[in-house]
Amino acid sequence: MDAYTDKIKEISKKILSEGKVDVVIGFRKGTLGYMSEPYMAKSEKEAENLVFDCNCRMNLVNYVTNRKDKVGIVVKGCDSRNLVTHIIENKIKREQLYIIGVPCTGLADKKALLDLAEGEITSVEDDNETITIKGDGFEKKVAKSDVLQSNCKTCIKRNPVIFDELAGPEVAELEISDRFADVDEVEKMSADERWNFFGELLSECTRCYACRNACPLCYCPTCFVDESRPQWVGKSDNETDVLTYHFLRAFHDAGRCTDCGACEAACPMDIKMRYFTRKTIKDCVEKYGSEAGMELDKRPALDQYKINDPNEFIK
């Protein structure tokens, strides 16, 4: 990963000094050993702070929405697909961007790292194969595959689909069998079981909206949960309102979600809300043969109309 970091710094300094971009949006080292912080470098000097490793869990496309300047941005495979969607949806122009692509071998699950630690984590090192967790009086090595974020285990695009320069050689894509095993489990449940399952899943949700705010798709000027005229949803911790929020958000992102996992990584309560978004991904793949953000000239599945669309349901 140090090679990625070095290359990102090198590219960033170059494009900043050549005036190709006004800023570079990347990550800097966090104050906690297992975290990183989204960061905007405005000068060559600041570009020295940029890093990339398995702790870079946020999707930086979230930070370029509606920007007017020229932006360098660090993206993983999934993020690059969100960039495609952003460009299609006029949230940013391709010409404004200098895309630094990161061929990605996956992110480390924060909870998994903390569970392995025997005290304060001072650093987490990542050589694409092995993760070394170092801390106050301990050091642990684990296979990266054992601590991957769950979305990274079913990743369909580790290499960026769109970029100006790569931070390292392309990596092999994963061979996945049973991509939607988790969704299948839920589909098999009876309606009652499913209802209970969802209730349990969301029982600790505080509606902090970290999932929404970490999501590059959620850029509505006013989210439906914040709307007061009309008020669609109550604002309390009422179970139905909490469910409504998560369901509607998932549906709103249907056909656009790249399963980047930022929502789950952001959740302070470890809620697995990707059960909802992944169902929409599965449906779009199975019913429309459509994966979000793979090509610049292909609009999201639910955002296009063809004269020969199956239309029996309208009768």
Binding site: T31, A214, P268
Partner: protein
């Protein structure tokens, strides 16, 4: 002051006994770790925990609370007139809270029980509540409570303090409320060795805290100097303006008031709110005094570390529990921001 010593094997029995006269809230082990919540009858507060994501705030300021009920049915007498809702007066106890979280309750009290107004919802919960603290022998790496005028063994805001001494919990009843609770639980009286043991454990625990903040210079700067400091945009760049820090914070007190109606029956209720959200401060005209996301982040830190400090002249609005530090999705760290503020030198 009564010393307490209770064998761990007697703990569950004592809690069962005390539940005859108290409703309890406390740490409970659930699938994802310990949660601090209202206990059901027969549930025992589990004192063998390291941290709870949510604090005791929920007990004195629930996330959602009905304030009034009313009817919109014009055929009913008293329609459109708000009625108070009943309140369960049974004494309550928060058992096993961290001592610095108790300090947070005192901070909340400054906001909700003022000379001019008493918030009746907070007041009745507060007065009804006994705070039974569980000192922390092994503070987490993000704990900086000793910098915040409190600490893992701070007795100042508790009714009872307990600490883990191996096979038993030892401690003290610190107030009249605490003595009542100890009597109701049938806590065995501790011997004279308890005080010394507590002092020893306290020194060890405080010694483990490496994380520190200072605000001595913040105190001396003007509000405008700090407000206009050049570092805010950068410090707040990563912030996604979610409510994580504000909800996890035991001292963040902001709330929203909402009317909810089902058929002809309505309630006015209040819900936690977060200054991170745009709807928090936006005017009806669409004008928002804190329109930019970073301005909202600045407001939160300024409130905790400067406005509160100046308004009450009693330290910062933070007890150093570290919840916001470990829960923030983008690793914005109040310790770092506080340092940045304290180190700032306004150019004159």
């Amino acid at each position: 002051m009564k010393m307490i010593s209770i064998k761990k094997s007697d703990w569950a029995g004592a809690m069962e006994k005390v539940q005859k006269s108290y409703r309890l809230a406390g740490p409970v082990k659930e699938k994802k770790g310990h949660t601090f919540r209202e206990l059901k009858d027969g549930e025992t507060p589990d004192l063998e925990y390291s941290e709870t994501r949510m604090s005791v705030k929920e007990v004195v300021l629930p996330q959602s609370e009905v304030m009034f009920s009313y009817s919109l049915d014009e055929n009913k007498e008293g329609h459109h007139i708000l009625e108070e809702v009943p309140f369960d007066e049974t004494p309550r106890a928060a058992v096993g809270i961290r001592p610095y979280d108790a300090k947070a309750v005192e901070i909340l009290k400054k906001n909700f029980m003022t000379e001019d107004y008493k918030d009746p919802y907070f007041e009745r919960r507060y007065e009804n509540l006994t705070l039974v603290g569980m000192a922390e022998n092994n503070p987490s790496p993000v704990n900086f409570s000793t910098s915040c005028g409190t600490g893992p063994f701070d007795e100042s805001c508790l009714d009872i303090i307990l600490a883990d001494a191996g096979d038993s919990y030892i401690g003290k009843a610190l107030t009249e409320k605490g003595e009542k609770f100890a009597a109701a639980a049938g806590f065995a009286e501790g011997d004279s060795g308890v005080e010394a043991k507590l002092a020893e454990l306290k020194e060890q625990a405080e010694g483990k805290i490496k994380s520190k903040v200072s605000f001595d210079k913040i105190e001396k700067m003007t509000i405008l100097d700090l407000y206009e400091a050049p570092f805010w945009e950068e410090a707040a760049f990563a912030c996604i303006n979610c409510g994580t820090c504000t909800y996890a914070c035991p001292t963040c007190w902001c709330f929203d008031i909402q009317d909810e109606v089902k058929g002809k029956d309505g309630v006015r209720m209040r819900n936690w709110d977060t200054c991170m959200s745009e709807v928090y401060s936006v005017h009806t005209t669409g004008h928002d005094p804190r329109h930019e996301a970073w301005q909202r982040t600045r407001n939160r830190f300024m409130h905790k570390l400067k406005y509160y400090l100046d308004k009450y002249e009693d330290g910062i609005m933070c007890v150093g529990c570290g919840r916001c530090v470990s829960q923030c999705p983008v690793n914005i760290d109040i310790r770092k921001v506080c340092q940045q503020m304290n180190d700032y030198e306004p150019s004159k």
